[in-house]
């Protein structure tokens, strides 16, 4: 399982705009590089990032080969109600990881 760091507030006022920052460890191997023997290294990148707020998609991104290893994705959303915010990364070789955090809205 890849390591992921998620930084977001645990509480927020209703209708407040909150910032969410995510960092995940991933090599993001482009598929264009050659190893020391000259053989092409197979592509291994994250393809999609999705953030769901109580099941509803509030942010998503497509990732491509030119994105650096250990991608950092930061975005904003509006705190509507207390609930679970989940983060999923999907990629090559069946990579799939989901993390979730709870947000308390007052």
């Amino acid at each position: 399982m890849a390591r992921a760091l998620i930084n977001m507030p645990t509480t927020a006022r209703r209708a407040e705009v909150i910032e969410i920052r995510t960092l995940i460890s991933h090599p993001m191997e482009t598929g264009y590089r050659r190893d020391s023997d000259g053989a092409l290294q197979a592509r291994d990148i994250l393809r999609r990032f999705t953030c769901r707020y109580d099941g509803e998609i509030v942010f998503s991104a497509e990732l491509h080969a030119a994105i650096a290893a250990n991608p950092y994705i930061a975005f904003h959303t509006v705190a509507l109600a207390s609930g679970v915010i989940s983060f999923s990364w999907e990629g090559d070789n069946g990579f799939a990881q989901t993390e979730s955090r709870t947000l308390a809205v007052t």
């Binding site: 390591r3 920052r21 960092l23 995940i24 090599p27 650096a68 950092y72």
Partner: protein, 251 residues
């Protein structure tokens, strides 16, 4: 008369302590890379620190003991430890750096020692060194280290490789100047292990020095070689008093 003596004493003090012109590699980076290091929520090195924290309390090897079982709470027990390495290992009769010490501990735990630059070793090293962030580098004053440190200084000043360059020529004499597109830093080991953007990964001081050696087209010393430890000793002495930044980000 007395006032004169005070003036002389002040003058002497001023002569004895010239302004410190040493600068961490942080000062030579672009504002964007500096921001990446300073914000823990962006700094990719924190992924290894987080991993190290998990490894710290996980039982390893046949002993079934974790680092925490002997060393306790790392923020307290490991505070300042990384500022003193490399230190002398009495049983080996030579200095070892922090990574090698961690590998030795793994052997005591009855586990296979993590090889140089392995994820396990770098993570634990980053986690331990992170506990000293902000503390001044304070090399061990053990007199038995003196000959090793002196050899490190000589290695730093010796020309090597097809380009016939010594470390000191760039990092002492040309620091701040440009090498191709990059600024030459003063070469202070104040943030290791570092997340280097060129590597897209965390790496040790030994890896960085080996990079420089192949850069001047010399045969790099093997990981763990005494020459690299001696260079580490000299570099830490040279950076004495500078604050540790682990995990630093470098271009």
């Amino acid at each position: 008369m007395k006032r004169g003596a005070v003036a002389v004493a002040l003058l002497l003090a001023a002569c004895a302590a010239p302004p410190d012109t040493r600068r961490s590699g942080l000062a030579f980076m672009t504002p964007a890379t500096q921001a990446l290091q300073r914000d823990d929520t962006q700094n990719p090195g924190m992924l290894w620190v987080q991993d190290g924290a998990a490894l710290w309390s996980r039982a390893a090897g046949t002993s079934g003991r974790s680092c925490a079982d002997c060393h306790g709470d790392a923020p307290r027990s490991m505070r300042g430890v990384a500022t003193r390495y490399p230190r002398l290992d009495a049983s080996l009769g030579r200095p070892v750096d922090l990574g090698e010490r961690i590998a030795q501990c793994r052997v005591r735990q009855g586990a296979t020692p993590p090889p140089a630059e392995s994820q396990e070793r770098l993570s634990l090293q980053a986690y331990v060194a992170h506990q000293s962030r902000g503390l001044p580098i304070a090399p061990d004053d053990d007199p038995r280290l003196v000959p090793f440190r002196e050899r490190g200084r000589q290695l730093f000043e010796r020309r090597i490789g097809q380009l016939n360059l010594a470390c000191a020529q760039c990092h002492d004499q040309l620091a701040g100047a440009r090498l191709g597109g990059s600024t030459i830093p003063q070469g202070h080991p104040s943030g290791y292990p570092i997340y280097r953007l060129e590597w897209q990964s965390l790496g040790s001081l030994q890896r960085r020095m080996r990079n420089c050696m192949s850069g001047v087209r010399a045969e790099p010393h093997a990981y763990g070689a005494i020459e690299l430890i001696e260079l580490e000793l000299h570099l830490m002495q040279r950076a004495r008093g500078m604050p540790l930044e682990t995990p630093a980000v470098r271009p």
